[in-house]
Symmetry: C2
DNA sequence: CACAATTAAATCGTACACGATATAAAAATG
DNA sequence: CATTTTTATATCGTGTACGATTTAATTGTG
């Protein structure tokens, strides 16, 4: 009984990836009404969070932190720029890279978004213990899978 | 030290939703090369799995199981139909609903996909214990959040 | 039974997400 | 120093995702 049976594998695999897939959707459903008020989508919110933590980053730097490609970020950042939350400008030091900076409106949005984390935390219904463990295990899994995917 | 401090909240919330978001992407990266061989995307694979478990379902039934809307499923199912894996036909009993059925190719694909779960399981790098706990906690969280989202 | 309300799909518009490719700038090499 | 290679973004095509709306069929109610 102590080895991993075929049935266990089938059940688990199917449902673990799906649990993550559907949990992501559930997060989105809770985030949406909160972020709508701010005029942001969830991926846009993530970009703003990374900029609130450190302003004036390159597209590449943001992409590394969020695991996103330029093909995803470029249009997203243009939308943030169109909404007046960030500015995009070629780095004079290195004309290949684009520096993304918060505008005053982008900085101001930080206060408006202040209560979002607590609301989301509430909605998860988790205790601190479980959340910390979940977080740790998910990150470990993600990093392991990224390493595996790299080798293909 | 035993109450939930503001900093704890901010760190945790931010990173738990993001851990799930990025873990989902990581799963995709591992799934992709495997599913490419089958001619499926990950959401298409999920639909096929539900049909392998129970053939001849309505769009609505599939949507309930996968938490997806008809606006997502209709074009996805048309692609599966175009690839010859399923058939779509109005239910004569209730002309509003569309019955989705596996074709012979769709049924045959099940064997070709046999090894996928074990490959993915390998790639997670998890032990059975952790995976089961992760799965349980994620589902509980998702259901809690869906219930919260419902009330908005 | 007529007519309103509900339900099931489909359609449309917006926004990710990524692989493949293109473009331009910087770095590395001979 | 000229040429190749690498690097940073941008563009394009395909495929989710979902909210809002539409259409057609069924159900519920007077």
């Amino acid at each position: 009984m102590e080895d991993t049976s075929k049935d266990d594998l089938l059940q688990l695999e199917q449902f673990l990836c799906f649990s993550i897939y559907s949990a992501g959707h559930a997060f989105n459903r809770v985030y949406k009404p909160l972020l709508d008020k701010l005029g942001l989508t969830y991926p846009q919110y993530l970009v703003m969070v990374t900029l609130w933590q450190q302003d004036n980053q390159s597209v590449r730097s943001i992409g590394e932190k969020l695991y996103l490609e330029s093909s995803t970020l470029t249009p997203l950042l243009k939308r943030l720029e169109a909404h007046g939350f960030v500015s995009r400008k070629r780095d004079p030091e290195d004309e290949r890279s684009v520096r993304v900076r918060l505008t005053d409106a982008g900085k101001a949005l930080r206060e408006a978004a202040e209560d979002v984390p607590a609301c989301i935390w509430q909605a998860t219904g988790l205790d601190l213990e479980t959340a910390k463990r979940l977080n740790r295990d998910l990150r470990a899994m993600r990093d392991h899978m990224d390493a595996v995917a790299e080798k293909l």
